[in-house]
């Protein structure tokens, strides 16, 4: 295969304890550390390994969002991607909108493989890859924990509720990746310097000629219902008594 496209979403960092704004209008993001969605980082690592093994010639990272997402794209370039594309969009394009944007880049640049995270850790939707496969008319292999690339085919091990499903797909295809696929590399300082010279193309959503379509509106946000703090017992006898009390043992 020649070209691999990897989606990188800018999200609140994995380690941040997320808080709802007091007026319920959204999530507190002021002064909060932002990062590449961890699943997307695994997708990029996989793409880089494919290229390093000589099975692909170019790795392209793409993000849809505001100009701030350039930070995450630069990190992707520092990890080893060859070039980056930022599709600038102020509001949310929705998963279907993102899928349509990715499809337009596939058509423009001729992409053989799209690697995405299986979900983003902000909205936890898990939709974009499946939607892209639908509108592209190509295979989807979601929740991948192992992949063997073999010419115009791939053998994908998928983590499903029943266990592991091994599926063979024809390329081009969309693969969404799970946590255990690989461990992403750390970025080294010289790579960050080098990444500054790599091409980062910015396209306004309007110039792409893509209609994202109607989105699911987010009306309000609230903190989850808290569980009440329970009792502490001193020993196993106390635990067994507490369980018996509740009719659970």
């Amino acid at each position: 295969m020649e070209k691999i496209l990897v989606g990188l979403k800018r999200v609140v960092d994995y380690n941040v304890r997320v808080r709802v704004k007091s007026d319920g209008s959204g999530i507190e993001t002021d002064g909060v550390k932002m990062s590449i969605n961890p699943f997307d980082e695994i997708a990029l690592e996989e793409a880089l390994r494919i290229k390093e093994s000589g099975q692909a010639s170019e790795v392209i990272v793409i993000s849809v969002g505001t100009g701030d997402a350039q930070q995450q794209l630069r990190t992707g370039l520092a990890m080893g991607a060859d070039r980056a594309i930022l599709v600038e969009s102020e509001g949310s394009a929705g998963s279907l909108g993102i899928a349509r944007i990715l499809k337009s880049i596939i058509d423009r640049d001729g992409i053989d493989l799209v690697l995405l995270g299986k979900q983003a850790i902000d909205d936890d939707n898990s939709q974009t890859g499946q939607m892209l496969a639908a509108i592209w008319g190509r295979p989807q292999a979601t929740f991948a924990s192992q992949v063997e690339w073999d010419g115009d085919k791939a053998k994908v091990t998928r983590e499903v509720d029943a266990g592991l499903e091994i599926t063979e797909i024809d390329l081009p295809a969309v693969v969404t990746v799970d946590l255990r696929l690989n461990e992403p590399r750390y970025v080294k300082l010289p790579d960050i310097m080098k990444a500054k010279k790599k091409p980062l193309e910015t396209i306004a959503l309007a110039d792409l000629g893509v209609d994202p379509g109607p989105v699911i509106k987010e009306l309000s946000f609230e903190p989850p219902a808290e569980r009440e703090r329970g009792v502490m017992v001193d020993d196993v006898a106390g635990l067994v008594a507490a369980l018996k009390d509740k009719g659970l043992a």
């Binding site: 998963s95 279907l96 936890d124 499946q130 979601t142 499903v160 266990g163 063979e168 509106k217 369980l243």
Partner: protein, 312 residues
Amino acid sequence: MSKILIIAEHDGSTLNSSTAKTVACAASIEGAEIDIAVLAATAAPVAAQAAELEFVARVLTVERAENEQAIAAVLAPQIAALAGGYSHIFGPSTTFGKDLMPHVAALLNVNQVSDIMNVESSHTFRRPIYAGSAVATVEAPGDSVVVATVRIASYAAANGGNSAAIESADATADVPSHTRVLEVQSGVSDRPDLQTAAKVVAGGRALGSEENFGLIYKLADKLAAGVGASRAAVDAGYVPNEMQVGQTGKIIAPDLYIAIGISGAIQHITGIKDAGTIVAINKDEEAPIFEVADIGLVSDLFKSLPELIEAL
């Protein structure tokens, strides 16, 4: 009125309990008329089970050899062909539904609502985001079909006892051959299923090895419980992936959940929040698991676990 089509999850012979929970969610929409679609190579056994679920008006069967395995790219065009006349198409938020439903939504040119935990109205729903750190109220467009997945831990399964009509449906569609399931590796276990068990015992990284994880199985056997694990325990190779509980594993709601040697990262807690009673055993009294536990015991699991197994 809402006309709702639910896509049945099954393994060819048995209807997955996720379907009855999805039915319960759909039934909470006012004036809902509910049909279930069974796509299979041979639909009769599963259709018969679906027809027993309360609230269900009709079971539609779509039989073709290619439906032997649940391949999203194969099933979705057939579901899109069935979609006409329905205001809603629901599936469970299991790996089956997560894989399939967005594909269906895209074929129907709509976005999808993921993980409905609560129905506010026919087009307004509540759903968890940020690993359950927040709950969003969302509204789907009123002028197009609503495609959604249901967070099954939020619903009790619809009861049986019904005898809905079973009809063969015409869902003619071209299906691709570019995706082939070669094999499914499933840990064979006679323990209660993790997703439906009334009691679950789960172990974390503190178990230290696959061998030590045997203590968790022993306790589970005493309680006739299912067995789960934290991501750390799965990553460390103590247990297979299908036992992972949490944001990226299974979301469960047993009556009793016993977390042993699990610190309780937010990504794990989101998978157990709806449990009736949470018990935590951990030697670190600062472990966040104690913030959600109903009964907590600060103790070295290698001391307390054998005692507990003995005492029960």
